[in-house]
């Protein structure tokens, strides 16, 4: 196995034993990038020089006894995390040349323990989309099948990890943007509890739904990355003040006696038969490991998509308003007056961003606020209560991560509502703020990865990771490599 294909915990052992250096790992990663990036297109910006400087520093830190498992590990970061001195575009023309003067808290925490920032990954503009087709710069291809999307909005991060262009990545998840691309690209993705990982420095899509989390090769890696980025941050007023458990220690492999809920509403007819089969297969495996799987009900989930899109659009319409060309980013070259400068500058926004702004503006208008926004907030509370009720019986809840495996380019962009509906399994966890993990749970006949979603109680990442890890250890999935691997080797 090449260094660039290894998990963080494998690399950790090699680094600790002094068998490889951070520099060598990074060289392997950049060699892979040179080989496949032209096809995959995972990155918007590569930080070649900075990365090698960081790798050298990491090697010094390791020599000095640094024990963080992330020290010297090459990590990709979605291009909506602010990075000091490195442009942060959000895949938008409006921010094409925007260079933040500060690091997002999660990035700062990674840097502090010696992680190496490989580059900034592609996304749907401002995180708005489920296929990364809404990037204003280029498309990212799914390494498993280059004719298909990698999912989104963290499609670049998922593709980078799947293709061996980084050991792990950070993504953001507003309605499934970590989990859906992770599932599409056959990797692990974790959306932690709201407030566990500070959002400071991540360009907001919808503040009340945005989450930051790891995208990794396996569950142990997810635990290791989470450990480094979780915890209270005085710069984030929504960050939770609480003790952080040892996530790796939760990976005991023992799930005997755990109650696993399987919500009937999430196993309905819309589900692709192959995905359904894979999820039921996973449920059976968990039972065979000593868990008991019980059918449960989340009665308000049928309103989740509508609720989610009303709240998210409202917040997006507000958050994207600041890109007016006055202080930073793109500004139209000529305009008659200030208002026309605003209008012409903002015409550079992509179609999906404009659509969400229009919807959100509509939902918040005087007269519509009560009908839509306020009502959506109420339904959000009901959905949270559904989960609270379910978690009185269950330790975790499982579901498919996505209704289908990765779809082809252009497949859903013409019908936005179809695209929105693909968030059905994931967006409920954003509405409720609960932790949700996706792990690979099989392949379609076409050889595309399928994801199993595991949700838990607020701040019960240990249970979610334990179940995901136990499943992963026993699933015995045939080891398959993404298509790009075959190509570059052949």
């Amino acid at each position: 196995m090449q260094l660039n294909e290894m998990s963080i915990h494998q690399l950790r052992e090699l680094l600790r034993a002094g068998e490889v250096s951070s520099r060598e790992i990074l060289e392997a990663v950049f060699a892979k990038i040179d080989a496949v990036e032209g096809e995959v297109g995972a990155y918007l910006t590569l930080c070649y020089d900075e990365a090698f400087a960081q790798a050298q520093r990491a090697d010094e830190m390791l020599a000095a006894g640094e024990t963080s498992p992330l020290c010297g590990i090459p990590i990709a970061v979605k291009d909506n995390f602010s990075t000091a001195g490195v442009r942060t575009t959000c895949a938008s023309r409006l921010l094409e040349n925007y260079i933040p003067p500060y690091d997002a808290s999660a990035v700062a925490r990674l840097k502090q323990v010696g992680a190496v920032l490989v580059g900034k990954t592609n996304l749907d503009e401002f995180g708005l989309g489920s296929s990364t087709e809404n990037s204003q710069f280029h498309c990212t291809r799914n390494p498993w099948d280059l004719s298909r999307v990698p999912g989104g909005s963290s499609g670049g991060s998922a593709a980078a990890v799947a293709a061996g262009e980084a050991a792990a990545a950070l993504g953001t998840d507003t309605g499934g943007s970590i989990r859906q691309p992770a599932a599409f690209c056959g990797i692990v993705g974790l959306k932690p509890t709201y407030g566990l990982v500070p959002r400071y420095g991540v360009v907001a899509a919808a503040d009340s739904m945005d989450h930051i989390g790891p995208m990794t090769r396996d569950v142990r890696d997810a635990a290791l990355v989470l450990q480094a980025i979780a915890g209270w941050d005085p710069k984030d007023p929504t960050s939770a003040r609480r003790d952080i458990p040892d996530y790796e220690a939760a990976l005991t492999g023992n799930i005997k006696g755990l109650v696993v809920g399987l919500p009937q509403e999430l196993m309905g007819d819309a589900l692709d038969p192959e995905v359904r089969e894979a999820v039921f297969g996973a449920a059976n495996l968990l039972e065979s490991l000593g868990a008991s799987v019980e059918e449960i009900s989340l009665p308000h989930v049928e309103y989740a998509i509508a609720t989610f899109y009303i709240i998210v659009s409202a917040e997006i319409s507000s958050n994207l308003a600041r890109f007016d060309g006055v202080r930073y980013g793109y500004r139209v070259a000529e305009a008659e007056d200030t208002v026309s400068m605003f209008i012409k500058t903002r015409e550079a926004l992509g179609q999906e961003a404009k659509r969400r702004i229009l919807m959100g503006t509509y939902f918040l208008q005087a007269g519509n606020y009560e009908t839509y926004y306020l009502k959506a907030l109420k339904v959000r509370t009901l959905i949270k209560e559904d989960f609270e009720k379910a978690f009185q019986r269950c330790h975790v809840i499982i579901s498919p991560t996505t209704p289908t495996a990765a779809f082809a380019f252009g497949h859903k962009t013409r019908t936005p509502v179809t695209m929105y509906q693909s968030d059905i399994y994931t967006c409920t966890a954003n509405l409720a703020g609960i932790p949700a993990l996706t792990v690979p749970c099989g392949y379609t006949q076409e050889g595309l990865p399928i994801g199993l979603q595991i949700m838990g109680k607020p701040f019960d990442e240990p249970a979610v990771l334990r179940v995901g890890h136990a499943y992963e250890q026993h699933a015995g999935l045939p080891l398959r490599q993404p298509q790009t691997e075959v190509k570059t080797n052949g």
């Binding site: 995390f81 003067p101 929504t238 507000s318 600041r322 007016d324 202080r327």
Partner: protein, 481 residues
Amino acid sequence: MADWEVVIGLEVHAELLTKSKVFCGCSTEFGAEPNSQVCPICMGLPGTLPLLNKRAVELAVKAGLALQCRINQFSVFARKQYFYPDLVKAYQISQDDLPLCSDGYVELLVDDTVRRIGINRVHLEEEAGKSIHAGEDIMSAAYSLLDYNRAGIGLIEIVTEPDIRSPEEARLFLEKLRQLLQYAEVSDCKMEEGSLRCDANISLRPKGSSAFGVKCEIKNLNSFRAVQRALEFEVERQKALLEAGEAVVPETRHWDEAQGMTFSMRSKAEAADYRYFPDPNLYPLEVEPSWVEAIRAELPELPDARRDRFMEEYGLSMYAAEVLTSSRDLADYFEECMEQIKDPKLVSNWVMGEVQRWLKAHGLEAADSPVSPKDLAGLLQLIQANAISNLVAKDVLEEMFATGKSAQTIVDDKGLRQISDDDSLEAMIAEVLEANPGPVADVKAGKTKAIGFLVGQVMKASKGKANPQRVNELIRQKLQD
């Protein structure tokens, strides 16, 4: 012709006296180099989040308490959304339907009756930056410059009920409000620096009617005088329209100070829909009752209470007590001086008269006076001890303001000590009486008024140093016995 009742409500913005901004750590100092007091947060850079300044909450609560408001245990920050170059996030973090403070009042003395003006709400919000337009006005400006030092300074908005009944009352209300906010040390309320701003809503209705008329909002009111003048103009404008049978158009109007007129800015139909919604980054603000009580304990004695105490404790007139408590500084000055000299009449006369005069001349507040209350007490003690006359004391005070020297030093250096020994005085009196036979004859004939003239001549001859009382006595003895 109908008799009209004027209905006015005010919206007042006051900048809070916090050292740092309301959602970041930047300084709030006025007058710094443009864009030198900014950071990613108050510049609204992508990814930044607001961090509420606890002190700003305390000052807003303090304002609410000074205005007799109910402090709401839970209040909500909401985004007020509009596009403007000086508004960095294209929304202002403010409060909408759940403000921090509600239902208070301010009492005013108008024509000897107490008027109570209701306060609808006091809420906490952030300042925008400042646009500086190159050229005469915004329309003809070739470009605009933006200074974001002000962006993010903590602000309270105070909204009155439509209880104000005249332009003069509006001005009196603002004066009282400023006095309260300064007393409570919530805001320095400097209209010239923009730390206090006011918009006014005004409508007219037939006397006796309880329905409201159509109102206009008046903006660009840059002084208390402007508020009164603009409203006076507006009363006449609306009255003329109504009496001609025309309708008042609901609109926002701009006060032009130079022309002394208001002009239509935009109609209310075009008014922005601010699309308020709760800011998801800021959880509802909880102000526990125990915190409110701790803040209440910080409140100083408020002006009305202090005025009443001054009348009772020092036996001052209503007028004197009002003047002396008009600012907290001045009242403190008076009371510190009183600690040295237990003569309320003497101290109040000097503080209200000469001290105020020289403060004004030097453009200073009482707190910044080069003549401290102790220094003044030193001067007044010399008067009490008959060491100098009132007249000399006035000159000495002027010198004290100019040089910062003590009264004692000035009197000694210049030899201004009052002449009170009868031998010296009698010698001077003898000369004056000899030189003024006419008035002497008048006095002898019973025209006592002429004594004043003779005393004045002795004072002149002594360069003000003679003890006037003693001179008066001695002249009387000489001429009337």
